[in-house]
Symmetry: C2
Subunit: 532 residues, 2 copies
């Protein structure tokens, strides 16, 4: 089955074709232009999409949960129906391999199914009931019921590095739709055609499952498009994955609105890795190999790329660095997503190489072809690291810094020093437990996810996942952008006091409470018979 | 048992007595000064309290949940032990009656007990487990576990109008301590002595239950004290109840920090009340009486005071307004909390009276004695209301505006017009259901709590309560400052991936999961045997 890429903005059910101002998609692997040209959505497009989303909001959020879940499942099915055309376009636009794109498609679809299941389960509604106590003295207690409701239309800014899983029908869109919020996506210039294909699949699913017009719109565009979107009064929250500069600009825009709105920006992280002494001694070479694999995966273009490693000085260090150099030296640089990202990577990597007391310990093969960035690992000592803030800044791509510490105390000092992170990783053996026990409380304060003997790249889409963390990893540390807890970003609680049954939302009536887990008079209740 | 009020700042376990810069407490009912004079805590005091809180943080948040719960219960017991001295001082400082103060003390203590129970229950930890799937293809699944952890030390700004329940050991403090966060309270100038008494009780409870030094500090102070507190790097969240101006100033301060932090500000609300036609017809006089009671309760100094009422024109309106005028006319104005609040009330009330197309329909008796504010109800029509933003602004105190609508359509138009609110109230009879059904989706979008046939003053402290709402009612619409969901403001999720059992937090080990409700592989699990 084939969908045509037309370059249009998709505003609800209407195609708005490309006009005079257009933008072009590129193949970063070859530097060639790709056809067609795309509309640069303007302020009128934004207003039309936001107004339509607002018009759809009350209808959409009040649909039965099962119908909302079916919509999410239908999106997954329609994305699969796009077949190989989607993979081919995504490969052409991103320079990522077909295998990676297929894996990412699977992840995107299973993510939609995970949210569909969560919608059916309904635990995120936070249902709570306190039964009336008419005879309580001195004052009667009213009947109190609570549920979470959707915030309103959500603006989604996809990321460059996950053209499927963090983009048009990615985690932000899936969780917003699951919460009951219409979505307006600002299409990312790095994968315009891929975005349009997915948007068309999503709109087809919306039609098949009888969703109201405006539940979803797709606006290919540039910065001005996104600015107009965040400022529109009918947009009530923003999901963003990208750079710290981009995220903070949206946060400032949203805070300056007459009605400020939350911006959930996942921004930057260097994902520190601690290699503890016994582990380094026992299996340094294996850790070095794993490090190179995680660092260079997808040309290093992951938010969870390990950009910082802390190791102890000692006899196990030189062989570790030797294996690192050999492994990285055999690596072939892959094309990066855009020429802009490639240029920024080289600037960042070269600036790191040029810092005082920083030496280069490993390099990949020299790049062949356009937009390939040579990977590199640098080395410094803790004192240099502590006194040079630049060393902690993310270089998006395959560049990493090994910080050599003199003792366990320095490891802890390092952990206390760094900024908020998406992840922190420990490589440890049983004998490292006492040291790890000292580090854990610090790492908990610093990161959204802590891993042992694994690598932070490869984020599982799961109920227990946290892809978030303290500032500046994200703008809102209490949230995650991966996993079902992400729904919570787009909800707010409402209490119903003595509301007659005829006016209560269905979830809070006897039927709903018989199906959905809830808290009743302070006790957790899980209905034993579930209709789903 | 008697505690002495000394005027000191209480920084952890240390008393820091009043120095050269001091402030005075007043009895608003008489205008007299009260002794002693109080320290105006300076920047060094703030730094000392915040550093001490930071030092206590890791210890406090890792205490067993039962011990944390015992601490909360002990605070309630110590507040009760203050006996009548607390009531007398609170009455003297606020001009509120002894009966009201006793009720508020009961509420404060039962609020602490409610949070103690919630701490023991542990549902707010959001425990989630996804078991490892080592044989999954193409990639194994790691063992994933999630819990919520405390954000860090919290700065609490109490409100003037609830010297106990929304102040030193009020809802913000109780929920922050429940979450595992140390608290630094900026003492409110309107009840400095009451604040010190409660702070001493809280510190005594901390000592009795072996809490770390710094888990709580009390800083009497002025605006500069609060500013320094919000800017301190060891403060990680702010709870505030007060004016819109004050709340937005703190929001701006917090956003401008190198590490921005969340400010949970409960700011302003006019709490619209809709009297639907059948209800007005059937029991207009009773509604008028209830309205006057709710409006003038506590001199109208409630966040949930009904400042706006929408009624339909028709034959039932004149008798309704007549009863309103009679009832209010018999009301004696009570003293307001401070001379500043009294002056602001009179300015706001008189400005409302002076607006074009606004008439006065009811007034209380003339005030006798200092700081009494004469209550008033005004009237206008919907068109005037829609075109004059000033009419929607909160006047803190017993002033309210009745907006007369011509038809049901105008009622809905009114609802769509107003800003975010803490509450919205419907007075309705069975025949009003179709109209109410149209209003409900609008009111859900506008308010944190919707009531039927009741008055918004008198907020139940309960699991299902929401005391929050869309901007400008609060700065963070996804939260509540009353009820156990308030804990969530001070938490963030952390995921543990393949972390060895020896390093896992106790809640996520087999023992914890055997006691605390959680989500396991997508299923809600409630342990049947509970140790508590």
């Amino acid at each position: 089955m084939s969908e045509t890429i037309t370059g249009a903005a998709l505003i609800g059910r209407a195609d708005v074709p490309a006009a005079e101002t257009r933008m072009t998609a590129y193949n970063p692997s070859t530097g060639e232009e790709l056809s067609p040209e795309f509309r640069i959505s303007d302020e009128a497009d934004v207003a039309r999409a936001a107004d339509l989303a607002w018009g759809a909001f009350d209808t959409y959020r009040q649909l039965p949960l099962a119908q909302r879940a079916d919509f999410l499942s239908a999106i997954a099915a329609e994305i699969m129906s796009l077949g190989d055309a989607l993979i081919q376009r995504a490969v052409a636009e991103t320079g990522l391999g077909a295998g990676r794109m297929e894996t990412e498609r699977t992840r995107t679809c299973s993510q939609l199914e995970l949210f569909a299941n969560a919608v059916r389960r309904g635990d995120w509604l936070d249902l709570r009931v306190e039964d009336a106590m008419p005879d309580r003295r001195p004052l009667r207690r009213a009947d109190l019921r609570m549920r979470q409701i959707a915030l309103g239309p959500v603006a989604v800014f996809g990321s460059s590095n996950f053209p499927l899983a963090f983009s048009v029908a990615g985690g932000d869109t899936a969780s917003a739709l699951a919460a009951g919020c219409p979505v307006v996506v600002k299409g990312h210039p790095a994968h315009l055609g891929t975005g349009e294909l997915v948007a068309r699949a999503l709109l087809k699913a919306a039609a098949l499952t009888d969703m109201p017009d405006g539940v979803f719109s797709y606006l290919p565009g540039e910065i001005a498009t996104g600015t107009a979107l965040v400022k529109h009064r009918h947009i009530k929250a923003v999901g963003f994955t990208g750079s710290r500069g981009g995220g903070l600009a949206l946060v400032a825009l949203a805070a300056a609105r007459p009605e400020p709105i939350p911006v959930y920006a996942e921004m930057s992280s260097v994902n520190p890795v601690f290699v503890l002494p016994a582990a380094l001694w026992a299996r340094g070479p294996a850790i070095a190999k794993g490090y190179v694999g995680s660092l260079t995966l997808g040309a290093g273009q992951f938010c969870t790329n390990p950009g910082l490693m802390f190791v102890l000085d000692g006899p196990a260090l030189p062989p570790f660095l030797q294996v690192l150099a050999t492994e990285l030296g055999e690596t072939e640089p892959a094309p990066m997503l855009t020429s802009g990202i490639h240029a920024a990577f080289e600037r960042g990597r070269d600036a790191l190489a040029a810092r005082e007391s920083v030496t280069t310990v490993a390099e990949s093969r020299p790049p062949k072809g356009p937009n390939r960035g040579g990977a590199a690992v640098f080395r410094t000592d803790l004192q240099t690291f502590l006194h040079d803030e630049q060393l902690e800044r993310e270089v998006f791509g395959a560049a990493s810094l090994v910080v050599v510490c003199q003792d366990v105390n320095e490891l802890r000092q390092a952990a206390e020093q760094f900024e908020g992170q998406l992840t922190a990783t420990l490589h440890l053996d049983a004998e490292d437990t006492p040291v790890a026990r000292e580090l854990m409380p610090v790492l908990e304060r610093k990161a959204g996810r802590i891993l042992a003997n694994d690598w932070p790249t490869g984020v599982e889409v799961a109920e227990a996942m946290v892809h978030g963390g303290p500032y500046p990893a994200t703008s809102q540390s209490h949230t995650t952008s991966v996993g079902t807890l992400a729904i919570r970003r787009f909800l707010r609680p409402v209490c119903y006091q003595d509301i007659p049954t005829a006016l209560l939302p269905p979830e809070l009536n006897a039927d709903g409470l018989a199906r959905i887990p809830h808290l009743r008079n302070g006790m957790v209740v899980v209905p034993s018979e579930r209709s789903d």
